[in-house]
Amino acid sequence: MLLIHCPYCGARAQDEFHYRGDANVERPAPHAGQKAFYDFVYARDNPRGWHVEWWHHYAGCRRWVKIERNTVTHEIRTVKGPTQDTR
């Protein structure tokens, strides 16, 4: 069980959150081509170590938060609001 420090609500258990995917993914330009859009929709890195990801605090403030989590140790280094830069 992860303990996630929501920037709005404070420390909350992981089961109040939904994992919503990799936060590094950026939408390609409209005419970037089929390959770029295929990668945007389907291709994901599977890093060992630090990973920036979206989580949705669905059972609390209902805000999306950007979390930097270590995929090996599950340590959480930063939790920020959706518009704040994690790096």
């Binding site: 709005y8 404070g10 109040e16 609390g60 403030c61 805000r63």
Partner: protein, 205 residues
């Protein structure tokens, strides 16, 4: 345990009954449904100061800080999300208040009537032990004192939890109406370990 449901549209039907925690013992927990008008206010972009001023003028209440609520024993304002508050007002204000706020707060805040979607339960008694079995938050008054509120999971459903009286462990739980019966069942189940006797017949099940 005793359960008291309000006379008017209640999710629990005719659920008024006496203690079932043994012949002489006090109730383990008491649950009462309190009819209330619930209105969700969401400040429009950069309009929070205007909303605070309008709310002060109408209710003489400050917009509470995150994870807190403000109350004058008639109206209660609860922080539920960034720039979002839930207003609990007496049930008889009903639709009139909502319409009044909608016109007063036009351009300042979105006003949504939640009265029929949410239900307020007052829980008192040995709530410390009972809630510890179905809520992951630390509700000790040293951390979660009077005036604190939280939107969290209680028995797997999303609830607004208000610490009304820290010395006597009295809480208000605001839950979606359709989950009210489930939450009631779960709280009863959680209180069984402390001597509460479940009386299915009285619950009409």
């Amino acid at each position: 345990m005793s359960v008291v449901a309000a006379d008017c549209p209640s999710r629990f039907g005719e659920l008024t009954r006496p203690s079932h925690s043994g012949p002489a013992g006090p109730d383990v927990i008491s649950i009462a449904q309190r009819p209330a008008t619930l209105i969700h206010l969401t400040a429009r972009r950069a309009q929070q100061p205007a909303l605070a001023a309008a709310v002060w003028e109408r209710f003489q209440l400050n917009l509470p800080q995150p994870n807190h609520f403000a109350s004058d024993n008639v109206n209660t304002l609860i922080w539920i999300q960034p720039e979002g508050w839930l207003l609990e007002a007496p049930v008889d204000t009903g639709n009139t208040l909502c319409l009044e706020l909608k016109s007063a707060l036009a351009g300042i805040a979105a006003v949504v009537d939640q009265t029929h979607g949410k239900c307020v339960l007052q829980v008192s008694g040995r709530t410390r032990e009972v809630l510890a079995r179905c809520c992951r938050l630390d509700l000790d008054p040293r951390i979660f004192g009077a005036g604190r509120s939280a939107v969290t999971l209680v028995a797997q459903v999303s609830c607004v939890l208000l610490q009304v009286d820290a010395t006597r462990w009295c809480f208000d739980l605001i839950v979606a109406s359709t989950y009210a019966q489930w939450l009631l069942d779960e709280l009863q189940e959680a209180s069984r370990a402390f001597g509460s006797v479940r009386d299915s017949a009285a619950l009409g099940k």
